[in-house]
């Protein structure tokens, strides 16, 4: 019973979604999806967020209690959480307020910093990838050089055929492998959905069977 009921819920829910995917009927698209499912999902989202906030607070308070490594940083979480929440609740989230000021002058630059790190990591990853250690890596290196050169005016100066070759690399071998992966992904995701829908995959219910 402990497993049958959840399994039934999953199967019935799954069948409803399969019907939703294959049927454009008003009852499924409008009555079920727009008028039932969406409002409920919007309504439940804030409660789930509360769960997230509680989890994060518990994790940091445990760290402080246990004096886990670098536990002092957890105070920054509580300070940031309380200050941001107070700024939002008291001052509002409109432009010109403390909340928006903190968002624009603290969170946005910090996020931008993280994002800009990507450029350096990319260079490092490219270095690792393009070392011609094997014939496959050499092919990759040559293809990358051609594609990169074709993106800049210098490429055209070197050879007028470079953009054509680059486009061919992108359109034929690259696209073919990309489509192969996507086909596999599509098939894999359909198979995973079927596994759950048919009750073949039951690991989410716990138990060894």
């Amino acid at each position: 019973m402990k497993k049958t009921i959840p399994l039934l819920i999953v199967i019935v829910g799954g069948i409803i979604w399969v019907l939703w995917a294959f049927s454009p009927h008003y009852l499924l698209q409008e009555v079920f999806y727009n008028k039932f499912y969406l409002p409920w999902s919007y309504a439940s989202a804030p409660f789930a967020m509360l769960l997230g906030v509680m989890s994060l607070s518990m994790m940091h308070s445990n760290k402080i209690k246990r004096r886990a490594p670098k536990w002092q940083y957890s105070y920054f979480f509580f300070a940031g959480f309380i200050i941001t929440a107070l700024a939002g609740f008291i001052g509002g989230t409109q432009k010109g307020g403390v909340f928006m000021w903190m968002f624009e002058n603290m969170q946005m630059p910090m996020s931008a910093t993280m994002f800009s790190l990507l450029a350096f990591y990319m260079a490092s990853a490219a270095y690792k990838a393009f070392r011609a250690r094997s014939p496959e890596a050499t092919v990759l290196l040559v293809a990358a050089i051609v594609v990169m050169l074709a993106q800049v005016p210098l490429g055209m100066k070197i050879s007028k055929h470079l953009p054509t070759i680059s486009q061919w690399i992108l359109d034929v071998p690259n696209l073919a492998s990309k489509r192969g992966i996507m086909l596999g992904v599509g098939l894999g995701s359909v198979a995973t959905s079927l596994k759950i829908l048919l009750g073949i995959e039951r690991s989410y219910l716990g138990g060894g069977d």
Binding site: A21, F22, S23, P24, H25, Y26, L27, A48, M49, L51, G52, V53, S55, L56, M58, M59, N62, P69, Y73, G91, G92, Q94, G96, G97, Q107, M110, S111, M114, F115, L118, Y121, S124, A125, K128, A129, K178, G180, I181, M182, L183, G184, V185, L187, G188, S189, V190, A191, T192, L194, K195, I196, L198, I200, E201, S203, Y204, L205, G206, G207, G208
Partner: protein, 941 residues
């Protein structure tokens, strides 16, 4: 000494802060007041418009918005709306304007305060309030100053009212909270008060502009209507086409005139003189020498108006020298103010010159939820959008073409016949698969062709050969752009670029056709969206203080009569309807009695009134909804029948098609009837999306293959290709155990609704079993608060299964942030602080993938990644030790569990891949031989 310096420094800083704050407050009261604020009546309108004008503050004030306040008296002005500006740039123009036509809601259910609130940071005696509150008494007090319009859900309108009986009528009462939105339109002749307050980026309200009083008045319409006319000699018929002047929404009557050209000058002089006179004074002595052609009441507002006058039917005798005449459009608004505009063109033509209507069809739209009809405007039209040479010798030409398609015709083949400017043959190309590109090899003697004439014909499904309907284009080479540009599109002898379609539509609840769905004649389809009416706009008539309800007189437009009667329009209360019906029956009896008494002496008006009343009664009494409703036992049932019929009829539509050159050369079709002779079309909701037939078949095939694979795997051991990343999981967890450091599992960026996240959770379950077995800590950070509890449950059950429920620590599975980079920073921090030995990245990843894995790499962790995000696969491959690509990710849980049924799923996937390969080969072979039916059967997306 140091301490003293610090104290002095702190004191100095405090003084500076105090000074800056005090100077700031001192300035705020004096500076920032808006100058040059004025409010005046909107010219040429219906009396419901006010214009506000003010000089914006300079950018030093860092203004973020200007709040506009309106009130019916100077003591209480409510926030109406705001105009946002850039605080850094300020406003470049010297003046800011706001046009108040009542289009901003007075109350919106979602944003209106519940009680009357003064505006922020205002003195106690300030007249400025926040938005009008959701308080019946406050809105009720404004009723006399505005024309109120309520937007209300039909369910509330029809079923949640309270009957309010007044002396002379029965009205429906509604509480304010039942409305979605309430609009307040200014009334002509009523004084209003306006002011503007600037708000700076600190959220401070700068001093308000001086309150201005304005009384909007109804004005004469502008004499700027754009009017075209034509006379079709062989039909003895006038065609008219015009657009109303701006602010012409209150025009009540349109009148067309035939004016001798000799009078045009005096007409212009008179109109110029009228412009200088007060609105109430209008002279039109030109009308005495003009011949009236039509009088047409304005029933509804349309972007373009059309009218046809059959002179024979109307008994109009035209002058013989029609070429010496021109046309004039005069119009009158609801306050009897008049204006006139001279026709821009008056063309004498024959019916052969009129644009021809295409053969159009109205059909239900396929695969929708029952709220669309499609009007297919003739056959598809192919046309060349551009062409260019592919080689330096200019012997190879590429043509990019497009097709104005519709759902009624499916294209089989397209044929392009090319000639040069002198008519010399350049070749014919037949397109078998529509990919919008054709390549053409020009004859060797066609050197540097500069212009090409193209004839395009279509072969549509259901027809035996290429159609004789030809599209012709003349494209000319543009040396500068090195391209042939597409020219005018001539289809069956008509230049489509110069023509327009206008679709007239009418629902079965509406008495007349309305135009307005206008498009270029190149367009061959129109999707008419007809959703079920869920809300209504209703005029609020008053406020009943005793019940705190707003009164309205809603009518259910059950059905309109195409034969001229008033139709079946019922009030929402049965009692009121019965009274209305009784009054109608009494009227018929009274008129019949009168007609019988007077006999042959009966006046024409009485006969007409009797005929009309009889027709009204006959239509009502014969209507099936009326009969069914009369038999209803309760008021609720009676209303339900009427509303059901109204909803059905509001989706029943009839159409007419008009084609015009935009200058009154127009042809209007008869109402469309389908092959069964049905006038009204009703959209149908389909239960199955036919475009997904192949998808369904493929899913069924996969299921069959799954069953087959299960049978096979039960009989014998099946081979699964070794996947290095999965083989290494044991080693990776073992390594962490040896090092005494934790394992981290990052489930990526997907939500619980995505299959990749579900697959990731299944792998987490398997990995958790191993960490429980090896007794090593498992850290699992999350960015989705829906996924986190699922992960906690999965890990907990895995630990229980491994017989180590005590080792499970819920606080190791936690939420970090739902924001991409904070999440990434959090995970990176944990990687470094906790010195994790093994990291699994399993799920959907975006730009954070490389940031995470590079950090893991630098921390010396073993990293195993699996994702279905194709763009992130290269980053994982370069920075992780093992990467599962594509379907390997989905195969992981089966691979790790070695469960027979799950493994059979992998085999089924392999069989299905074989099917895909066979299908691709068949498709490629067939399309090579121009047999495209097979590949066309597959959906593109």
């Amino acid at each position: 000494m140091k301490k003293a310096y610090m104290i002095m420094g702190a004191l100095l800083l405090s003084v500076m802060i105090l000074v800056s704050v005090s100077s700031d407050t001192g300035n705020a009261s004096a500076a920032g007041k808006i100058a040059g604020f004025s409010a005046y009546d909107m010219p040429n309108d219906d009396g419901a418009g006010v214009i506000l004008k003010w000089t914006p503050l300079d950018k030093t004030h860092r203004v973020i918005q200007y709040n506009i306040y309106r009130g019916a008296n100077p003591d209480s002005l409510f926030f109406l709306t705001s105009i946002e500006v850039d605080p850094k740039m300020g406003v470049m123009s010297p003046n800011l304007y706001y046009y108040d036509r009542g289009d901003q809601p007075l109350i919106e259910f979602e944003s209106a305060p519940t009680k009357l609130k003064k505006e922020k940071k205002q003195a106690a005696n300030s007249p400025f309030y926040q938005r009008v509150p959701q308080a019946g008494n406050v809105v009720g007090s404004l009723m006399s100053s505005y024309n109120m319009l309520g937007v209300i859900k039909n369910n509330q309108l029809f079923n949640r009212s309270k009957m309010i009986k007044l002396a002379d009528q029965t009205l429906a009462g509604y509480k304010l909270y039942q409305f979605d939105t309430v609009y307040a339109l200014p009334k002509a002749g009523t004084p209003y008060y306006y002011s503007v307050i600037a708000v700076n980026e600190k959220g401070n309200f700068l001093p308000a502009a001086d309150i201005q009083k304005v009384i909007p008045v109804d004005n004469r319409p502008e004499p700027t209507a754009v009017f075209y006319s034509s006379y079709i000699k062989d039909k003895n018929q006038f065609n008219f086409e015009w657009t109303a002047p701006p602010s012409g929404s209150d025009i009540a009557m349109w009148m067309g005139w035939l004016l001798p050209k000799s009078q045009v000058e005096s007409f212009k002089q008179e109109e110029a003189a009228n412009a200088q006179l007060p609105d109430s004074v209008y002279t039109a002595s030109w009308q005495s020498s003009a011949l009236p052609l039509f009088q047409l009441p304005q029933y509804y507002v349309a972007p373009v108006y059309y009218h046809t006058v059959d002179c024979a039917a109307e008994g109009i005798t035209l002058p013989a020298d029609l070429e010496n005449y021109t046309t004039v459009l005069s119009y009158m608004d609801s306050s009897q103010y008049q204006a006139a505009a001279l026709g821009r063109s008056f063309r004498l033509a024959t019916s052969a010159e009129l644009p021809r209507l295409p053969k159009y069809k109205v059909e239900d739209k396929d695969n929708d939820k029952g709220d669309n009809l499609v009007i297919a405007l003739g056959k598809p039209v192919p046309y060349v959008s551009q062409a260019f040479y592919l080689n330096a010798k200019k012997t190879k030409l590429r043509l990019n073409y497009d097709i104005a398609k519709n759902e009624a015709y499916k294209i089989k083949k397209i044929r392009f016949h090319l000639k040069d400017g002198s008519g010399k043959e350049l070749g014919t190309v037949t397109e078998h698969f529509v990919d919008h590109i054709i390549n053409c090899n020009l004859p060797k003697d066609a050197v540097d062709t500069k212009d090409i004439k193209i004839e395009i014909s279509l072969w549509v499904q259901g027809e035996p050969d290429f159609s004789t309907d030809l599209t012709r284009q003349h494209i000319v080479y543009d040396k500068k752009n090195k391209r042939f540009a597409g020219d005018q599109i001539e289809h069956n002898g008509q230049v489509l670029n110069e023509l327009f379609f206008d679709i007239y539509s009418k629902s079965a609840t509406s008495p007349m056709y309305m135009q307005g769905l206008r498009s270029s004649a190149i367009v061959r389809t129109y999707d008419h969206s007809i959703p079920l009416p869920e809300t209504s706009f209703q005029t609020i008539q008053g406020y009943d203080k005793a019940t705190d309800r707003f009164t309205m007189n809603p009518v259910i437009s059950v059905a309109a009569d195409d034969n001229g009667s008033s139709g079946l329009n019922v009030p929402i209360y049965r009692e009121a309807w019965n009274k209305q019906l009784k009054d109608l029956r009494d009227e018929v009896s009274a008129l019949e009695k009168k007609a019988a008494e007077l006999g042959a002496q009966t006046p024409e008006e009485t006969t007409q009134a009797l005929a009309q009343a009889k027709a009204d009664l006959a239509f009502i009494e014969s209507h099936p909804a009326f009969k069914a409703a009369q038999a209803a036992k309760s008021e609720k049932e009676w209303r339900k029948i009427m509303v059901r019929e109204y909803l059905k009829n509001s989706q029943n539509y009839s159409y007419r098609l008009l084609v015009t050159d935009g200058k009154a050369m127009l042809t209007l079709s008869e109402p469309y009837k389908n092959k069964d002779g049905k006038l009204y079309m009703h959209p149908r909701a389909e239960w199955f999306d036919s475009s997904k037939k192949i998808t369904l078949l493929a899913s069924i095939l996969l299921m069959v293959l799954v069953v087959y694979a299960i049978i096979i795997t039960r009989k014998r051991e099946v081979y699964i290709r070794p996947i290095a990343g999965l083989e290494e999981i044991d080693n990776a967890v073992g390594r962490a155990t040896e090092m005494g450091r934790p394992v981290m599992f990052v489930p990526g960026w997907g939500s619980l609704g995505e299959v990749c996240t579900i697959a990731s959770m299944m792998i987490l379950n398997q990995i958790a079993k191993k960490t429980a077995e090896f007794d090593i800590r498992l850290i699992n950070p999350h960015c989705d608060y829906f996924v986190m509890p699922v992960a906690q449950e999965m890990v907990q059950s895995a630990y229980s299964e491994a017989g180590r429920p005590d080792a499970y620590d819920q606080s190791d599975i936690f939420f970090i942030s739902d924001n991409q980079f904070p999440f990434c920073a959090g995970v990176n921090g944990i990687t470094i602080r906790e010195r994790v030995a093994t990291v699994f990245y399993m799920g959907y990843f975006n730009a954070e993938a490389l940031l995470l894995t590079e950090t893991g790499n630098q921390a010396g962790a073993i990293q195993i990644a699996a994702t279905d995000a194709v763009t992130q696969v290269p980053f994982f491959i370069t920075t992780c030790d093992y990467t599962l690509i594509g379907e390997e990710f989905y195969a992981a849980s089966a691979y790790l569990s070695k469960n027979h049924e799950l493994v059979s799923m992998l085999k089924a996937q392999d069989y299905f891949k074989l099917v895909i390969v066979i299908v691709v080969i068949i498709g490629a072979l067939l399309s090579t031989f121009h047999m495209n039916g097979f590949i066309n059967a597959f959906p593109i997306e």
